[in-house]
């Protein structure tokens, strides 16, 4: 398969709603269960170890017209909450057995309730990830929370899950995350050979396929990438921050590059990449996952680690990538991202790192104003 063909394969898979993906997979795996995962981070290993298929349930992008959901959530609520609910109303989640939410923001929290009420047949579970990772108590708590979730999943699938099952699932997801880290490392070195939109399609596909078929696809993509050639252009090298939950439209990602940027690193789909290194498999698996959440996670607007300010995480990312600037890309009305911007901005200004804010909505389809803004920003950096 050529690299382009792999990217097209990802695009085609992403065009199918999660319910349909789930139904197809379940037809091939009689008795199987499929669980939707609302952003950002889900311990996929628990679902996988239970023999179920985790799939990303993260809004509808440009593919859904709101008919019911906008009467449930007000105009000042982010798009992903509404389109996710709308997918449910339109039957496009049918095929999923459940959806998992967790403590990312006040909106997602309430959405889990609204989903539970409107879709009573769906197994809706809410995971409370610790907000006080500095406390010694957090790891014990999280291990217990994972055990609680696992028991619920065992109830759903109707059989127990062993430590060996969990260890195998950790290995599978370590493999997948390792491949994604390689993809990102490749782009950081050669952003002219892998565009932001291509990278996003490859990454997003992780949420639309079983890890067993995603892994080989991504491996093939990495091999094919090695054969790509091109010349590095004179562009501004940026890090994209703030799009960890609702995902920007591909058109916007293309515009960022067309307007003169190379994106060396980003937090798109960060929940499906999450760990900075492999989760160890030599101890108790749930404990290992809980410790990894505390000690091996990427910094993020929705994970609070009081041992290290997030702004420091961003500065390190910028330096590691050798970026010239930060493109701050929050979803419209995304409160965690908008709040963090204040502290990020303070740190960036202190360090003399230029930045630009561009708000987006997943369903946006014209980008001319954004293009102008980015072009002006790029020009100010290239020619000043």
């Amino acid at each position: 398969m050529t690299f382009e063909a792999i990217v097209e394969e990802c695009r085609a898979r992403l065009a199918r709603p999660p319910g349909e993906v789930a139904a197809t997979w379940k037809a091939e795996h009689p008795g199987g269960r499929a669980i939707g995962c609302f952003p950002v981070y889900t311990p996929l290993e628990l679902i996988h170890a239970a023999g179920a298929l985790p799939l990303a349930v993260a809004g509808g992008g440009t593919t859904v017209e709101l008919t019911h959901a906008d009467s449930r959530f007000q105009s000042f609520v982010c798009s992903i909450a509404k389109t996710t609910l709308e997918l449910g109303f339109q039957g496009r989640l049918a095929g999923l057995d459940g959806v998992l939410f967790h403590s990312i923001c006040d909106v997602a929290r309430n959405l889990s309730s609204v989903m539970r009420r409107n879709f009573p047949d769906l197994f809706v579970e809410y995971l409370h990830l610790p907000q006080n990772t500095a406390s010694e108590a957090a790891v014990d708590y999280l291990e217990a929370e994972y055990r609680r979730l696992l028991a619920r999943l065992e109830g759903l699938v109707g059989h127990p899950v062993t430590d060996d099952d969990l260890a195998r699932s950790i290995l599978a997801h370590n493999w997948r995350r390792g491949l994604l880290r390689r993809l990102y490392a490749f782009r950081a070195q050669a952003p002219h050979l892998l565009s932001l939109a291509e990278c996003a399609l490859l990454t997003r596909a992780a949420g639309a396929m079983p890890v067993e078929s995603y892994g080989p696809l991504l491996e093939a993509a990495l091999v094919a990438l090695g054969a790509r050639e091109g010349r590095l252009k004179d562009r501004v090298r940026v890090v994209v921050e703030g799009a960890f939950c609702e995902q920007p439209p591909l058109g916007l990602l293309e515009v960022i590059e067309e307007a003169g940027c190379y994106v060396l690193d980003d937090d798109l789909m960060t929940g499906w990449r999450w760990f900075t290194e492999d989760v160890p498999v030599d101890g108790a698996p749930l404990r290992a996952l809980a410790e990894a959440y505390r000690d091996r996670s990427e910094y993020s607007s929705i994970r609070h680690d009081w041992r290290k300010p997030k702004a420091q995480g961003l500065l390190e990312k910028v330096r590691r990538a050798g970026a010239d600037a930060v493109l701050f890309l929050p979803a419209k009305f995304c409160e965690p991202a908008l709040f963090d911007y204040v502290l990020y901005r303070e740190a960036l200004e202190r360090e003399g790192i230029p930045h630009l804010v561009v708000e987006f909505e997943e369903k946006q389809w014209t980008f001319e104003r954004t293009r102008n803004e980015i072009e002006t920003f790029v020009e100010s950096l290239l020619f000043d």
């Binding site: 906008d70 009467s71 449930r72 959530f73 007000q74 000042f76 609520v77 909450a81 403590s103 990312i104 923001c105 006040d106 909106v107 929290r109 309430n110 959405l111 889990s112 309730s113 609204v114 539970r116 009420r117 409107n118 579970e125 809410y126 995971l127 409370h128 610790p130 907000q131 006080n132 500095a134 406390s135 010694e136 108590a137 957090a138 014990d140 708590y141 217990a144 929370e145 609680r148 929705i302 609070h304 009081w306 300010p309 419209k332 009305f333 409160e335 965690p336 908008l338 709040f339 963090d340 911007y341 204040v342 502290l343 901005r345 303070e346």
Partner: protein, 427 residues
């Protein structure tokens, strides 16, 4: 009812709001603010803490003065001082879509409000009681950043099942012990569990009075408006809980309301509609918003906002015999914000039925997605599933730019006209 008669009722109503409770509450809150200002000058320790499901009793056990940025923010809104502060915060990067409570507080901080020159002390500890509100975490993270005070985020697992698990409770208690150790470090005092027990006994006494007052609103007419007048009791129960003054405040409030019930008196000349209100009030337009309801003889007999700090009317009390465990229980279970939206539906339903309300009023707050995200679904549930007439209006609790008086009035009038029509037809 003729327009003139309605107007008269509104005016009378305005004078009827105030009673001894209002005056005493005002005096207590002023004393609290004066103590804040005094500590700003002397440097005696203070700590910021949140209203929702808080553990103010622990601070009190160390004589650490509690600061409540939410309360200072709402006071600025009532005094119509919030907008310039909000704009100031927006200048440093806050979005127009961020919670305006946070912006008013940070705006105040950036204007020098915290510190020896201001009215609020620089906190010795920024203690964030995270009770299911992500905005709280961001707010206090920023406060800590801007004041350079140490931050502790007390993580309270969200109520995901009917009861918290033993692991949830253990997690919270362990963190409470960490908070205690921090307080020992700040004050140089040893933790005295007996002192905490005394404080908790005062808390329980006040809680008892607060519940009794709310129970009295089951009477027709209700002796006070459980939304608009509740604010007079929310100050003491949340800010001053655990003090003798607070317990005595409720000791005095209850007989006052009992007397009103005995005499058949309410906050308005006539109670024509009984409502349950959901969502915080628009503080910048408190009075004008209130009058839009008073004019229709609509009295709130229960409200969810009055339970952000704690839910006591279903039996929970702080327990001096189980000090840390009962504090943990209050934080985990017995407050509005750490419970799911569906739990809130259940709470409102219990209010509508138990307090025999005619309607539900939802005040949807742009700032506050914790309260408001999904309130359209709530309306759907109450109107379609339960057949409870429901009105949904939108504005903000802090930012005056989102209050559209004419639009608000039209919606409220249309709603009560329809309700009145229904009432007449039902007779």
């Amino acid at each position: 009812m003729a327009e003139a008669a309605k107007a008269t009722q509104a005016v009378k109503g305005e004078h009827g709001y105030h009673g001894n409770v209002h005056e005493r509450s005002k005096a207590l809150m002023e004393a609290w603010a004066a103590e804040s200002a005094r500590r700003a000058r002397t440097g005696e320790p203070s700590a910021t803490i949140m209203i929702s499901g808080n553990c103010v009793e622990i601070l009190r056990a160390f004589d650490i003065h509690p600061l409540f940025p939410e309360v200072s923010a709402l006071q600025m809104a009532i005094r119509k001082q919030s907008l310039p502060l909000i704009l100031k915060a927006e200048q440093v990067g806050y979005s127009s879509d961020n919670c305006a409570y946070v912006k008013a507080d940070i705006g105040y901080l950036l204007s020098g409000g915290y510190g020896p020159e201001g009215t609020l002390p620089r906190p010795a500890l920024v203690l964030c009681n995270y009770v299911g509100r992500n905005v709280y975490v961001k707010w206090f993270e920023h406060l800590a950043e801007f004041t350079k005070a140490p931050l502790y985020v007390l993580d309270i697992p969200f109520l995901r099942e009917a009861r918290p698990s033993p692991d949830d409770v253990a997690y919270v208690v362990r963190q409470l012990r960490e908070v205690i150790a921090l307080c020992e470090g700040i004050t140089g005092k040893r933790f005295d569990i007996d002192r905490l027990r005394e404080i908790l006994a005062y808390s329980a006494r006040a809680e008892e009075g607060w519940v009794r007052a709310k129970e009295l609103c089951k009477a027709h007419p209700a002796p006070f408006d459980a939304y608009f007048d509740s604010i007079n009791m929310m100050g003491p129960i949340n800010v001053l809980r655990g003090t003798r003054e607070c317990a005595e405040f409720f000791d005095a409030a209850v007989p006052e309301y009992e007397g009103m019930v005995a005499r058949g008196e309410g906050p308005l000349p006539e109670e024509r509609f009984r409502t349950v209100v959901e969502g915080p009030p628009p503080y910048p337009y408190y009075r004008s918003f209130r009058n839009l309801f008073a004019k229709w003889g609509a009295v709130a007999v229960q409200s969810t906002y009055s339970t952000v700090g704690g839910i006591w009317e279903f039996g929970f009390r702080h327990d001096p015999e189980r000090p840390l465990e009962s504090i943990a229980e209050q934080m985990l279970v017995q407050n509005l914000t750490n419970r799911s939206l569906l739990d809130r539906y259940g709470q409102i339903r219990a209010y509508v039925e138990g307090w025999r309300a005619d309607a539900l009023v939802i005040h949807s707050i742009k700032s506050c997605r914790l309260f408001s995200a999904g309130q359209g679904d709530m309306r759907e549930y109450f109107t379609k599933e339960l057949g409870v007439p429901t009105l949904l209006v939108e504005s903000d609790l802090e930012d005056p730019r989102y209050y559209a008086e004419a639009q608000m009035r039209n919606r409220i009038d249309a709603f009560f006209e329809a309700l009145e029509h229904k009432k007449v037809m039902g007779r």
